[in-house]
């Protein structure tokens, strides 16, 4: 078995008396896509922010390719690419200037090689014609694609993604999915947080479900099916079963009854 590229041990985060992330432990191997799912407010973004080095954990550790994120943050970050769900971009820079800036943040030398790589991604995302325009004129989807291009071009061993498909058109979403698969095939570890069950089901080798800050379930799709023990096949059913489907069943029944009553009137 290959050594894990990302190793999280008993990671916790407390905001005052509220525990947002509670002793989460997991590993992601090189070439693996790990799906991180959970209901709203379960602790996904807090976990991701700690992995990206933006939030200090209250306890536990994060190791990226052998580097402890807390003890050697620069070395760990050199191996990480972080794609946030709502990417901030410098409005008064052009796309090309932004890419050059990001390259200079991560690389001491060889930025030209990376920028040649970036051209490929700009082409893929239909951004080539826009690369010399100010970012303030970009749509939400274009911004999302630009920030993805800026991370993909770096070819980092670990990519952390928060809601990758928000704002993307179907063509770009398809391209991003294929890119994730291709990067994983070349050995990149991808830690992906999403609400989309289709994406998780299609892309992820393993899935972890976080609830109330605790990682309640983890495993491959097959293992999740066994844990849910419902006989159902798709991830949405499994997810709902594991995160409180009994509540949902009641709500759905009430809504249907409401619709029928409305129809009979």
């Amino acid at each position: 078995m290959t050594a894990p590229l990302l190793e999280i041990n008993n990671l916790s985060k407390r905001f005052g008396s509220f525990t947002a992330v509670d002793s989460v432990s997991l590993t992601v191997a090189a070439g693996e896509i790990y799906g991180f799912l959970g209901p709203n407010g379960a602790g996904k973004t807090t976990t991701i922010k700690m992995l990206a080095g933006l939030l200090l954990p209250s306890g536990g550790s994060v190791t990226i390719d052998g580097q402890d994120l807390n003890r050697s943050p620069q070395e760990a970050k050199k191996k990480t690419g972080y794609i946030p769900d709502r990417p901030f971009l410098y409005e008064k820079l052009t796309g090309d200037e932004y890419l050059r800036f990001i390259a200079s943040l991560y690389l001491q030398s060889g930025t030209e090689k990376v920028l040649t790589e970036a051209e490929k991604y700009l082409e893929l995302f239909d951004l080539t014609a826009w690369q010399h325009h100010l970012i303030e004129g970009y749509s939400h989807g274009m911004r999302q694609k630009l920030i993805m291009a800026s991370i993909f071009m770096l070819n980092q061993p670990l990519i952390i993604v928060d809601e990758p498909m928000v704002g993307l058109d179907p063509k770009s979403a398809r391209i991003v999915k294929e890119l994730f698969k291709s990067l994983a095939a070349r050995g990149t570890a991808i830690f992906l947080s999403t609400h989309s069950m289709e994406i998780a089901e299609e892309l992820c080798d393993r899935i972890g479900i976080i609830q109330h800050g605790r990682l309640t379930t983890t495993g491959s799709m097959e293992e999740l099916r066994l844990q849910a023990a419902t006989g159902t096949k798709n991830l949405e059913d499994i997810f709902l079963e594991l995160t409180g489907a009994y509540e949902l069943q009641g709500i759905i029944r009430a809504l249907r009854q409401d619709t029928e009553d409305h129809g009979s009137r």
Partner: protein, 548 residues
């Protein structure tokens, strides 16, 4: 490599001011305006200094003394404003997510934030102090070393202020969350500013040039000849320049202190950054206030009530907004104090006439005060809707109605302030009769129209991407101020003759001729008509622009 982080800041500003690598019209206008302000400051300072110098040796020393006092005050204000800016740049910048997720050392981030904080807080002082120094150099016939010394003294003071502020901020945020620290610093700087303003005003610095006030001349002379603030960096730079201007001598000790102090403070800040920054930054993201629980909301009648409620809640829940009421309070106190301190009895003119003249001029001052406050509070009110403006745009509420509700929201406080300023100052001036009514009528008309103009200009130049109200005040706010003052001056100056005849008649207990009465009525009616038309046209045009 240390400069790589500066690329977005540099390129962003270049792209902003030179769109398409050309000098844009906006940049030319800003440069021209800045240049004009510099010339005015230069000429004003030159005039004051020439007056001081015409008043023997005492005047010369006094002019340096005032300069030293002002310089120390500016230094203190710079430290506080640098602290507020440092909290924003270090902990609340939206690009932190990019920069801090990258393998960048704390030292490099510190350098970036230090330079940008220094420039954003002190560029105005640096630029607008140049004409003041130019005037001093000319009047004192300064030697050739003055400009190199200036090049050392002024930037050194700015660097010391921001290095002190950065160091204090990093330590403070380690103990308090960033937003709370920002609030603490904001209150402190506001209180400090108010205190300085009140002290400066209530000390009546104009008495310094009034020889009757001082019995012991030698005592006074020795007191003002002593160097100001020998322990303060601002005192060092002021005294370095002052000594050179007066004696043509360079104080090398002060020069050395000004070179070494910024370096020492910078490296101390860097060490603090390495030790405490990340823990503080992490904590700053936790202080979201989501744990606060508010009382359930009562029901309100109609859309207008909810819009008013929203405006009020936004204002009261944003400490950077409501805390400015302290400053308004201080302004009102000093404003009215000035009327109390007026030496009317020492004037060669009859007191009645002079009091009425001042009451008339007071209408313009009230109008100016209303315009300044409207520029700060009303002008950015539409921009402050920010991204949420789509809610208004997509709601079945006409934009004109929305603006009308906003206008009616701001009207009562501005009306109250105007009434307070006019009635109290008129009372202090013992104004009765027609001038009381004229000043009330005209002040209210000017204020109401100015508020409408502020809203109209703010709508026309709305910037929904600005981070806060202060940031939304771009060149449009300056244009609004200019137009509002032009409008006020036009209305007031057209009324000089009819009002003069009315007041003169009243003071002489004579009956007003019918022609004068007709002219007065025509002027009053015209003023109301023009004001209404102006507000209507501006608001209508702005709404049309916004719809586009």
């Amino acid at each position: 490599m240390a400069t790589r982080l500066f690329r977005p800041w540099l390129l962003g500003n270049l792209n902003r001011f030179f769109p398409g690598k050309k000098l844009g019209l906006r940049a030319i206008l800003i440069l021209a305006l800045g240049f004009a302000v510099c010339i005015i400051i230069y000429l004003g300072t030159l005039r004051v200094l020439t007056y001081f110098h015409s008043q023997n040796e005492l005047g010369v020393i006094l002019s340096l003394k005032i300069f030293q006092m002002a310089w120390i005050t500016i230094f203190a204000m710079l430290i506080f404003s640098s602290m507020v800016t440092a909290v924003s740049t270090l902990y609340l910048s939206s690009d932190n997510e990019i920069i801090l997720a990258a393998p960048i050392k704390a030292d490099e981030i510190y350098l970036l934030r230090f330079v940008t904080t220094t420039i954003s807080t002190s560029w105005m002082v640096l630029v607008f102090s140049l004409p003041v120094f130019g005037a001093y150099a000319r009047v004192f016939e300064a030697g050739p070393l003055f400009w190199p010394l200036l090049l050392l003294a002024v930037p050194a003071m700015a660097l010391i202020a921001s290095a002190t502020a950065m160091l204090a901020t990093v330590i403070l945020v380690y103990f308090f969350p960033a937003r709370r620290t920002k609030d603490i610093i904001l209150y402190l700087s506001l209180l400090f500013g108010i205190l300085l303003y009140l002290i400066f005003r209530l000390m009546r610095p104009e008495d310094l040039v009034n020889p009757d006030r001082y019995g012991e001349f030698i005592e006074y002379f020795s007191a003002i000849s002593a160097p100001a603030g020998p322990w303060l960096p601002a005192g060092w730079s002021a005294n370095l320049l002052g000594t050179y201007l007066l004696d043509g001598r360079v104080d090398w000790l002060l020069a050395g202190l000004l070179i070494t102090t910024p370096l020492v403070l910078y490296f101390a800040g860097e060490i603090a950054m390495r030790r405490w920054f990340f823990a503080g930054f992490s904590k700053s993201q936790e202080s979201f206030g989501g744990h606060m629980r508010f009382r359930p909301t009562r029901s309100f009648p109609g859309t207008w009530a909810w819009i008013w409620r929203k405006e009020l809640k936004y204002f009261l829940r944003d400490s950077s907004e409501w805390s400015q009421l302290f400053m308004v309070g201080a302004l009102v106190v000093v404003y009215l104090y000035n009327f109390k301190a007026l030496p009317l009895d020492r004037s060669p003119m009859p007191t009645d006439y002079l009091a009425h003249l001042i009451a008339f001029a007071n209408i313009g001052l009230v109008g100016f005060m209303a315009a300044s406050l409207a520029a700060r509070f009303v002008y950015p009110s539409l921009s402050s809707e920010r991204g949420a403006f789509y809610l208004i745009g997509s709601a079945p509420l006409p934009l004109s109605r929305f603006l009308l509700y906003k206008y009616l929201f701001y009207l009562p406080p501005f009306t109250l302030l105007t009434l307070l300023l006019v009635l109290v100052s008129n009372h202090l001036l013992d104004i009765e009769g027609p001038m009381q009514w004229i000043s009330l009528f005209l002040s209210l008309l000017l204020t109401w129209t100015t508020v409408a103009m502020a809203l109209g200009f703010g709508t026309y130049f709305a910037d929904f991407k600005s981070e806060n109200r202060a940031a939304a005040m771009g060149p449009g706010a300056i244009l609004f101020l200019f137009c509002a003052i032009l409008y006020q001056l036009s209305i007031i100056s057209l009324g000089i003759l009819p009002i003069y005849r009315l007041v003169r008649g009243w003071l002489r207990h004579s009956i007003m001729p019918p022609t004068d009465l007709v002219i007065l009525c025509l002027w009053a009616g015209g003023a109301v008509f023009v004001s209404f038309l102006l507000a209507f046209i501006i608001c209508r045009r702005s709404i049309a622009t916004l719809r586009k």
